[in-house]
């Protein structure tokens, strides 16, 4: 049975902030959901199923929050699913929603991902001591910093590349009213001057802790035609891969799962030269050095050369491959939502609806998320035209 063509016809997100004391978790989600439904010209009555994603429950201390959120998400009488793949969850949640449409099971699926980080402390939640093991572990930054050091050593990248990424993304965020950090005047020099947190990762090279949510409405070809939406973001391919957190000789800098997922994704989307054929990308960069690392992992550059695209300014808006036009995870990080924000921003770009951070003439865009110890990968390509496959 052929896949049903599907498209994103509604995108909604919150104004991401460090603390949203004015809303409950349900209220936070509804802001994103209401905006996505409005964008799609729909109400809850039009929705067939709801797919929810968030990062591990320890982050807010609410077990299975999707049960309590059913009322707020209009899920009574409909299928309500939860997806759970650590930091990549926003991406894999969107892919599960898309697959429910592409498989012909549903016509219109609402998907939403969120994190209300202010209710807890992710650094604490990610540093729970493991019995009998040396407690040197220090949050996500402590986990990834040694691997960033390995990348720098392996690629021979100059030390300022990470700061270039951070300065670019923080300036992109100034064009995005939803972005959490609005740090005017961020420069490579100011980033380099910021405090070293997990050497080699500096404070300004680190994502913030945010409250926020993102929602998408994904519709079948028929449902797109019946909607009033004239600029759908057609889904050209979706891929997920996973691998063990640790294994002997596992490449922690350029993980196999990410390489395999992107290769399969390009094949699915009929792309032979991603750097030439993809107009822009929103990739999951919680620490600045992950931009060049994922450029290589995603096959935009040969191994060891990713940083050269960054250094040449090719990843800035107006460059050859703009990356993280929205400001990215470095500017807003409601963890569970961060992957879906990447997927949603890719959709906004090909819909020509990205506002001030729009890439002129973007027709194909990549959305990417990763999670765990670089062991879960989720990615999609969306386009302004219906897929040819």
């Amino acid at each position: 049975m052929a896949k049903v063509p599907a498209a994103v016809i509604g995108v909604g997100q919150t104004h991401h902030r460090a603390v949203r004391e004015d809303v409950s978790m349900a209220g936070l989600l509804r802001e994103a959901v209401d905006r996505a439904l409005e964008d799609a010209g729909m109400t809850f009555a039009d929705i067939d199923a709801v797919v929810v994603g968030k990062a591990p429950d320890l982050f807010e201390g609410v077990m299975m929050p999707e049960l309590y959120l059913a009322d707020a998400l209009g899920a009574a009488g409909k299928p309500l699913l939860r997806v759970h793949t650590a930091g990549s969850v926003g991406g894999s949640t969107a892919i599960v929603a898309a697959s429910l449409v592409q498989s012909g099971v549903h016509e219109r699926v609402l998907t939403v991902a969120f994190e209300k980080q202010s209710e807890s402390n992710a650094m604490w939640a990610l540093s729970i001591p493991v019995p009998f093991i040396m407690p040197v572990h220090a949050g996500a930054g402590g986990y990834f910093a040694p691997h960033v050091r390995s990348y720098i050593r392996r690629s021979g990248a100059p030390g300022h590349i990470g700061a270039m990424v951070a300065a670019k993304d923080r300036n992109n965020a100034l064009k995005n009213p939803y972005a959490h950090l609005q740090n005017e005047g961020t420069t490579v020099e100011s980033v380099l001057a910021s405090t070293m947190l997990w050497d080699p990762i500096r404070f300004d090279e680190t994502c913030p802790s945010s409250d926020g949510a993102c929602a998408l409405v994904i519709a079948s070809e028929d449902a797109v035609a019946k909607s009033g939406v004239k600029n759908p973001a057609w889904i050209h391919g979706t891929q997920m891969r996973s691998e063990p957190t640790t294994a002997s000789e596992r490449d922690q800098v350029n993980p196999q799962a990410g390489r395999d997922a992107s290769a399969a994704l390009y094949k699915q989307a009929g792309i032979t030269n991603p750097l030439e054929e993809i107009d822009c990308a929103e990739i999951y960069v919680p620490f600045s050095w992950f931009e060049p690392m994922w450029i290589e992992n995603l096959g935009f550059a040969p191994q060891g050369d990713g940083w050269k695209l960054t250094e040449a300014g090719d990843t800035a808006i107006g460059g050859k491959l703009p990356i993280n036009m929205s400001g990215g995870v470095l500017s807003s990080n409601p963890i569970g939502a961060s992957g879906m924000l990447r997927f949603g921003e890719a959709a906004l770009q090909v819909r020509g609806a990205a506002g001030e951070h729009q890439v002129d003439g973007a027709r194909k865009a990549l959305g990417h998320a990763y999670g765990g110890g670089s062991q879960f990968f989720a990615m999609w390509i969306v386009g302004s035209e219906k897929p040819g496959n």
Partner: protein, 311 residues
């Protein structure tokens, strides 16, 4: 093992009004689109999904609709002695509230019984302001306190979560940790790929087969990569800044994280040769922290090619 954290909750407008009213000994219900009054008020209408915006006071008297006896109360429950959990339909509400009823025995509670709120002595702006319900006898409903809806006094609450559990080590871990108690480091080799895992896993993550061959490893090796932790966080046990490094023991095929000392953090290098510094023998337990830290051996650094495939 104990895991605990005081989570904070922001309540949103509807529950902020509800909790603020409780603090003043008044109970608010939410008016749904079909006119039903529900306590506690839901934030969103379960049928129309619209935000609930109308709140009305209901009585602190009600009727038991159904109940269940709690013979052995556990920590954090409303009463320390046996009690009933009951669905209580408050006068003025159309859906029941689940709460505790203080009676001496199951014989003292029945469906249809009238009950009333026993308010907590110290109001906190949480559902615990209703300490429990108790039999109301023939007492009649007093007028519910009138409420001024203004800016809510209570907009958040703290929700402490505690989890205590026993960690069961696998047979392979047990061997490893008991070895540490003797000052020895045991790994296991995968019979298929022949990689040596330390700590041993029981199964090779690549081949999925049991790792059966035991290998005793030396307490020295190569530092493959590392970071300098300079950020304080809750639960931290090592003073900052400290070097958190992957140590690849000689003869092992996977590195583990440990602490590096006896060297300035700025002088630590990838490829540095390191050795274990053990605690005094009388302090040894079944833990990897029998090794206090690793320190440089003074040997020449390992060539990058010898460990680059372990990054």
């Amino acid at each position: 093992m104990k895991v605990e954290f005081d989570y904070t909750r922001s309540l949103g407008s509807v529950l902020s009004q509800f909790m603020s009213a409780l603090k003043q000994h008044s109970i608010l219900g939410g008016v749904l689109a079909d006119g039903r009054v529900v306590v506690p008020p839901p934030e969103y209408d379960p049928v129309t999904h619209a935000a609930v915006t109308e709140l009305v006071p209901v009585s602190d008297f009600g009727v038991v609709q159904s109940w269940s006896w709690v013979a052995e109360p556990v920590a954090q429950q409303p009463l320390e002695k046996p009690f009933a959990f009951a669905q209580i339909l408050l006068d003025g509400a159309d859906a029941p509230l689940l709460h505790a009823v203080a009676v001496d025995s199951p014989a003292d509670i029945s469906t249809g019984m009238r009950v009333r709120v026993r308010w907590a002595e110290q109001p906190t702006g949480t559902i615990r302001d209703i300490a429990w319900f108790e039999p109301a006898g023939d007492a009649v409903t007093e007028g519910s306190a009138s409420m001024e809806f203004g800016a809510p006094e209570v907009t958040g609450m703290t929700s402490p979560v505690r989890l205590a559990y026993d960690y069961a080590a696998s047979p392979e871990e047990t061997k490893f940790f008991r070895g540490l108690a003797e000052g020895k480091i045991y790994g296991q080799r995968c019979p298929k790929c022949e990689k040596v895992y330390v700590p041993p896993r029981g199964a090779c993550p690549v081949d999925g087969v049991p790792t059966t061959d035991e290998v005793e490893l030396p307490d020295r090796g190569t530092l493959t990569t590392y970071c300098v932790v300079n950020v304080p966080f809750q639960g931290q046990t090592i003073p900052i800044p400290y070097v958190s490094a992957y140590v690849l023991l000689d003869g092992a095929d996977i590195a583990f994280l440990h602490l590096i000392l006896d060297i300035d953090a700025a002088d630590v290098r990838m490829g540095m040769r390191v050795e274990a510094v053990w605690k005094p023998r009388e302090e040894w337990t079944t833990s990897l922290d029998n090794i206090k830290y690793f320190r440089p051996t003074g040997e020449p650094d390992a060539d990058f090619d010898t460990y680059k495939h372990h990054l």
